[in-house]
Each structure stands twice: as C-alpha cells, then as structure tokens.
C-alpha cells in the first residue's frame, strides 16, 4: 500500500527558493512569469498486512509531525 504526501508552501508565505529562481529566470530573459510555486512529493510504501485506516493514520502523522511545518506548509495525503 502506497501513500503520497504532497507538501507545498502556504499561500502568502515567502518561499525564498522560488523567489531566487524567479529572479534568476528574469535575469536570463525569461518573461511572463507571475509566480513560481513548488510542491514536494513523498511516497510511503507500507509493508504487507497494514490496513488502510492504520496506514492512513501513520501517513497523516508523518506528514504533520515530521515532514511539514504546519505553520508554513500545506499538505495533502493521497492513497496511490
């Protein structure tokens, strides 16, 4: 059983990486970009024998407590 966790920077929170990339693109002559966003995707592959409810709960906890910073990030969890 696989779960995907997608983590992105909340709307309105500064994303220094994307701002830097945006500046670089502008300087290289790329026009027309209003804003850049990025999403990080994690894939969790569970061992055999885990039921959906348990696996989902673990994925949820991993996302909230370890991978994402709830103050800065939004995240979604989907079963692959």
């Amino acid at each position: 059983m696989k779960y995907h966790i997608n983590i992105s920077v909340k709307d309105g929170v500064l994303d220094p990486e994307m701002e830097t990339l945006h500046r670089l693109l502008k300087r290289s002559g790329v026009k027309g970009i209003r804003k850049l966003n990025h999403t990080q995707r994690f894939e969790i592959d569970f061992e055999e024998g885990y039921d959906e409810a348990t696996a989902g709960r673990i994925a949820d906890a991993v996302a909230r407590d370890v991978l994402a910073n709830p103050e800065i990030h939004d995240w979604t969890i989907e079963k692959a």
Binding site: P16, R27, K35, V66, E71
Partner: protein, 745 residues
C-alpha cells in the same frame, strides 16, 4: 470604521487621534496609527521610565532612538551594538522566529554603516518540558543557519532553563559591528527633495500586523495566527548587507533605516520625523509579492530583508548602478519634503495624510510619576509569593528552612542543564569566521580583536532571572554588577550598555513596579559607573495561559580590553588561587535551582546586595593589575555555578589536584557554590611573581587554594576528597543529553 477604531485603539488613544487629526481617520491612517502606537513601537508603558536613563557621554556617536548604539573606541575604531528580542515569533514558529530575529539585528547594525562582525545571544527556555525542548532545538537551528549563511560568527551565548519560560521562550540576539567613527550614518539626516529608495525583498502578507501581534498575549488562538510569521531569507540578507555597506561607503544615501516592526510605515515616518521633515509615499511603486494586497497590508507588512534609504536626486543613478549590479530589486517610493506631514498615495488617490508628530510621537503614554523611587526600591519581595509565575507549583513543605548538604548541591549541579557546557549552542555556529575571535563561546572571556586598529573589544551578555524575579530593583542591581564583573574579568571597563527588558503584561501594576525598579537600578548603575545606555529594546506581554515569565532584563556591555592575543590562559601548570570577596550560598544560582526543584519556590534564596562604588573601585584595581601583568595572571568573575564551576571548567586537569587552604572562614557550600558582591577569582602561576594581595590591599582577598601535581581531585580539610573528573566530563559533554528527544508518533 467606528467599530474598527474602538477595536484597535484604547479610548485614550482614540481621543488623542481624533483631536490631533480634527476628523475621522481613513483606514490607511488607522492602520499606520495602530502600528506606531502599539506597545512595540509606541513604548506606551515604558517611555516614562526609559526617558530617565542616562545616555550622554562624549564617546557616544549614536544613542537610543537610532537603529543601534555606536561608541567610539579610538580615532580609527567605533563599535555599533544592539540587542533585540524575538520572543513572540520564536514561541510560535521557533526556527523562523529566531532566524528572522538574527536578520533584524544584523540590519540594525549595517544600516548604521557598520560591518557586522559578531553575534551573541541570550536564550531562555524550559527544556524539561517537551515543548520547551523542541523550541530550544529549533531556535538554536534558526540562529545557526542565518548566522552561518551570512558569514557572521556567533561568538558568545548565554542560556538558562527555568519553568517560567515553558510557554514563553526568550530569544534575545545581539549584533556587534565595527566601523570608522566618521562612517556613521543615521536615520535623522535626510534633506528636503531627497528621493525615498526601497530595496531588497518584495512586500508580501507575511507578518501583517506583526508589531501589534507582538503586543498580544500568547493564547492557543494566537498560536494559530500563522500569517503573522515571517520567513527568513539569509542569502538575500547577505546581499542587502553588502549592497548597503557599499552604498554607505560611497556616500550615496543621506539617511537610512531598516524595515523592522511595522515595516514601511515605521521606516518612512521615522526617517522623516527624525530629520525634522515630511514625506510623501507612493504605495503603487512598492514592489509586492502577493497579488491583491491592500494598502493597509502593504503599510503593515513585515516581510523581511527590506531596507529604506533617502538619496539626493543627483546620486540616484549611482544608487541604481550599485543595486543593479548585486542585483537587488529596488523602487523609488517617495520623496522627502518640508511639510512635517506624511502623505500616502495608493491607486492614484490620497490614502493618508497626517502630521508626523502625531503619528510618531503622538501616542498617549502612561504616566507613572506616582511611583516614586522610594516605592520602586521597596518593590515587591516575591521570594515567597510566586502567584502567576508560569510553571511554579509551590509545595507545602514544613522543612523549607532545611539547607542543602554539599552532596545535595553536587548532585543538583551535575544533574541540571544549567552548568553543562553551552557548546551545544555555539558548536552549531561558525564562531571563528574572519579570525577575529580570541577565545570564543564557552571560553570565559569573549574578546574580539580588530587586526587593523590592533584593539581588543570585550563583549558581555548577562541575565539572571531568579534574582530579578525575587526583587526587580535589587535583582537588577545584582545582574548589572555581575555583568560588570564579567567585563572587568575580560579586561575592559564597559563603554556602553544596551539592554533587552523582557517582562510580562504591563497592564498589571506589579509588572509596572518591577519595570520601574529595573530601570531605576539601571539609572543608578549608569550614573555611578559613568556608563551610558546606548540603546535597548522592551518586550512586554511575555505570558500565556499558564502564567508569566520572571522579569528578565538582559544586559550587554561592550568595552575596550587590556587583553590581547597574548593574554594569560591557564594551560595546566601549578600556581595559587586567590578569592576576592565573600560568597554566600543563598545568593548563588545553584541554591535557587535546588530550591525550585525541591520545593517549587525560591524561599530562602537571596539577592546579593551590591554597592556600585565598591564594585567600581575593585574593578579599577583589577584593571590596573591586568594593565601591568596581563600575561602573568588570570582574573575570573565568580558567577553562575559559583567558584566550583570555575574550578571545574578552567583548572581541573587529570594530572593536577586543587588543594584548598587550611582554616578557610567559609562553609564549603558557601565557598564552592555561593555568589556575592565584589567576588572574583585570581590565578597566579608559580613562575609569576605578581603580588595579588598587595595590588588589592583595600579588599578582602584570601589565598584559597594551590594547584599542584595530582590526580584530578579537589582536596581540603573542609570536605572529603572530591574527584573532579566526572564534573569536567559533564562540562565538556554539553547540553545534548538534556535535549535528546524521543520522537513519538
């Protein structure tokens, strides 16, 4: 509008605003006023006391009110330094809060034209609680990352862990910069006709209302106010620093101010007001990051890494040339005029137009003249009653007067994080970048050496909350004297004092009495010692649902040191130890820690009574000793952890014994763990012929111990032989074991 104004301003403030304007304010005006009149910018509860602090001295090149204080050390060297708190942001998002705190304090320094050369910090948590532990780790990471990315070393740190910081950590960061005295650039030197230059990061919604946010108590609800958190961008910070320093070096801006609390509103209005002029700001020209951002949001945004400068029109192209080269986003967002008003345009319309003295200086401040110095000196003795202080659960104990045995004290010493090495904190920081540091964090003295002017600068940062909790006035006097002793031990008479006053809500009278007591103690100290206050920061509302913090004034002292790279450092020889002064166990930090752990109170703990004149005389005598014999003896202050901590950290060696003299007039508990006024430890190596007792003839000096060949023990007739090796290991081991955290999902 009517409802909004009542929500944002007090009745008092509303009346002052309506009277000053002669009409209803616009939304933009209300936004500006809400920020400038908040506790954070308006100093409503503190101004009465702060204005009494002595700030004048011939060597002060910039004092309170500027971005940072600057003192002249010599004809070719001046030092800019300032301390600032980032407590509330760090409580909510520890990593970003601490990192943006570092960014902010760096900007304060380079805005004045000084090159930041060192960072220090004063960090206070409760690491016994899981939440406090997590905050501590993230704060340390945030500070380390920002400092390391910008290449500014963290050279000293101070750390404590007490229950009252459980929900309200204190994150106070100090930056020190060097410059030539003639390079000083202020915010008060703009000229009519100058253009207003904005450069650095774009303006987004992050931190909107942050300045107001800092003036609210932390409740679970505010912990959810996520948009109020700014994100740091240290590489942008570094670029801005370099660009700013180049602009100033080439004499382009006429005045400069960084955008900190209350962002554009505060920087534009203050630069104009301090210059005695007016300003017109065009919000449509401000580079924005968030689509659809409103005028009020732009005015209050606290996006990081943004600067404001005024530039005479004929130098506009020079500024653009430099900023394009870095490259940095910039915009011309207004013009300085001689109207004494601030006018803001947005979408082509006038969104605000109000007198600057009303905006910057018109906030009604509390008048506390009924609190006389006598009343403040009396203060409140809280050694017994600690109601309302976070994390304390006094246990009814019939045996409270019981005194701890030497073994109790040794156990407490060994098993609390207080006396562990702070290496955990500083090892994450690059502290040797630029090779300016002599010694370093954890070393007893923090000295910066300027190779160009060949001068050493001593830095001290100090706070002692158990003392200031027991009695704000007497406690603050004791902290100031302790910080002074640290500076003397580092070979320097302090040239300036900066402070960060961390207190609970000023809306309660006891906080005001405490705050007044602290500032009164500072005034007395500065007057007696002739040390000016060069700047500072007030952080109120450090309290949450679980209670308030102990009043925690943090002091920074900077001085020109007699010590250079060739100063004496103990490396393992034999010699004699002298103790100046008379330590008492109950005045020491360890006693407070023991009592807190055992009974949840500070009962029987004491605040040392200090005499500033006496401290001054002794300090001068020790500086004369250093002046003549800096290479031949070492002076150490007896601070937190008492004499024992000094012995363990500085002198314990596996092949040496420390032999206490016979017939010393103290109990071992007092001698080893006590503290007191005018206490120092002086070490004279065997091969040196310095006569300490002759140098300090007017003071209580006792030969307390000899260091001889041996096996790492402390021996004497007052105690059983004590193996120092485990203590030494613990001292080296640092904080990590206290912070190790089991991740539970």
């Amino acid at each position: 509008m009517k409802r909004l104004i009542d929500q944002i301003l007090s009745a008092h403030q509303k009346e002052a605003l309506l009277r000053g304007l002669g009409r209803e304010p616009t939304y933009a005006e209300l936004a500006m006023v809400s920020a400038m009149w908040s506790e954070h910018c308006g100093y409503t509860h503190s101004r009465h006391f702060l204005k009494q602090l002595p700030r004048e001295a011939a060597h002060v090149l910039a004092g309170p009110g500027e971005n940072a204080g600057i003192i002249r050390v010599s004809d070719d060297l001046a030092i800019a330094f300032k301390i600032e708190s980032h407590n509330h942001p760090s409580a909510v998002v520890p990593y970003q809060g601490a990192a943006t705190g570092v960014g902010g304090i760096l900007r304060d320094i380079f805005t004045m034209g000084a090159e930041p050369v060192a960072l220090m910090n004063s960090l206070h948590f409760d690491i016994r609680a899981p939440r406090g532990k997590r905050i501590a780790e993230h704060v340390v990471d945030g500070i380390a990352d920002y400092g390391n990315c910008t290449g500014i070393p963290t050279v000293a740190g101070e750390y404590s862990s007490y229950p009252w910081y459980v929900d309200n950590p204190l994150v106070n960061v100090v930056c020190v910069g060097m410059l030539k005295p003639k390079q000083v650039l202020k915010a008060s030197t703009a000229q009519p006709g100058d253009l207003v230059l904005y450069f650095g990061n774009k303006t987004g919604r992050d931190g909107t209302g942050g300045a107001i946010f800092a003036s609210l108590n932390l409740t679970d609800n505010t912990r959810e106010q996520k948009s109020a958190v700014q994100v740091a961008d240290p590489f942008m910070g570094k670029l801005i620093m370099q660009a700013t320093l180049e602009l100033i070096r080439r004499g382009i801006p006429s005045a400069m101010q960084d955008m900190g609390a209350a962002g554009i509103t505060c920087s534009t209005s203050e630069i104009a007001y301090k210059s005695g002029l007016g300003i017109e700001v065009d919000l449509d020209a401000v580079p924005v990051r968030a689509p659809g951002i409103t005028a009020e949001e732009i005015l209050l945004s606290e996006s990081q890494e943004r600067m404001l400068a005024t530039v005479p029109p004929d130098r506009k192209h020079l500024a653009e040339e430099i900023l394009n080269r870095y490259p940095l986003d910039y915009a011309w967002v207004g013009v300085i005029n001689d109207s004494f008003d601030m006018t803001v345009h947005c979408d082509g319309d006038e969104a605000a137009s109000m007198p600057l003295d009303l905006l910057v200086d018109g906030c009604p401040v509390e008048d506390y003249s009924s609190l006389t110095p006598e009343r403040l000196r009396e203060g409140r003795d809280r050694s017994v009653d600690l109601t309302g202080i976070a994390g304390l659960t006094p246990r009814a104990s019939d045996a409270v007067s019981e005194t701890p045995s030497l073994n109790d004290l040794l156990n407490t010493y060994q098993n609390t994080s207080h006396y562990a090495s702070t290496r955990f904190i500083y090892e994450q920081f690059d502290y040797e970048i630029n090779q300016r540091t002599i010694g370093g964090p954890g070393d007893d003295h923090t000295l910066l050496f300027d190779p160009e002017s060949k001068r050493a600068i001593a830095l001290t940062v100090h706070a002692r909350s158990p003392w200031t909790l027991q009695h704000a006035y007497r406690g603050t006097r004791a902290v100031l004297a302790a910080a002074f002793r640290r500076s003397i031990a580092a070979g320097a008479y302090p040239l300036g004092l900066s402070n960060c006053l961390n207190f609970p809500s000023p809306e309660r009278e006891e906080t005001v009495i405490d705050f007044g007591g602290t500032t009164l103690a500072m005034t007395e100290f500065c007057n007696t010692m002739e040390i000016p206050v060069t700047g500072g920061n007030v952080s109120f509302y450090n309290e949450s649902d679980v209670g308030a913090i102990a009043p925690t004034p943090v002091f920074v002292m900077v001085g020109k040191s007699f010590l250079g790279p060739d100063r004496y450092r103990y490396t393992g020889g034999t010699g004699t130890l002298y103790l100046v002064g008379a330590p008492r166990l109950q005045a020491g930090d360890l006693y407070a820690v023991w009592r807190l752990q055992r009974d949840g109170t500070l009962q029987e703990a004491q605040v040392p009574e200090v005499d500033f004149e006496r401290e001054h005389e002794l300090g001068m005598a020790l500086l004369r000793l250093y002046d003549e014999h800096a290479e031949a003896c070492g002076v150490y202050d007896v601070g937190k952890g008492g004499l024992f901590k000094r012995l363990v950290e500085q002198f314990a060696r596996p092949d040496r014994d420390i032999l206490l003299a016979h017939g010393l007039p103290w109990r071992p508990e007092d001698l080893l763990f006590g503290e007191g006024p005018c206490t120092y430890l002086v070490f004279v190596p065997s091969k040196s012929s310095v006569d300490v007792q002759a140098h300090l003839a007017a003071f209580e000096v006792a030969e307390i111990a000899r260091i001889a060949f041996g096996r790492g023990y402390l021996r004497g007739d007052m105690l059983d032989d004590l193996d120092l090796k485990p203590f030494r290991r613990k001292a080296d081991e640092s904080l990590e074991p206290f912070l190790s955290d089991d991740l539970t999902i």
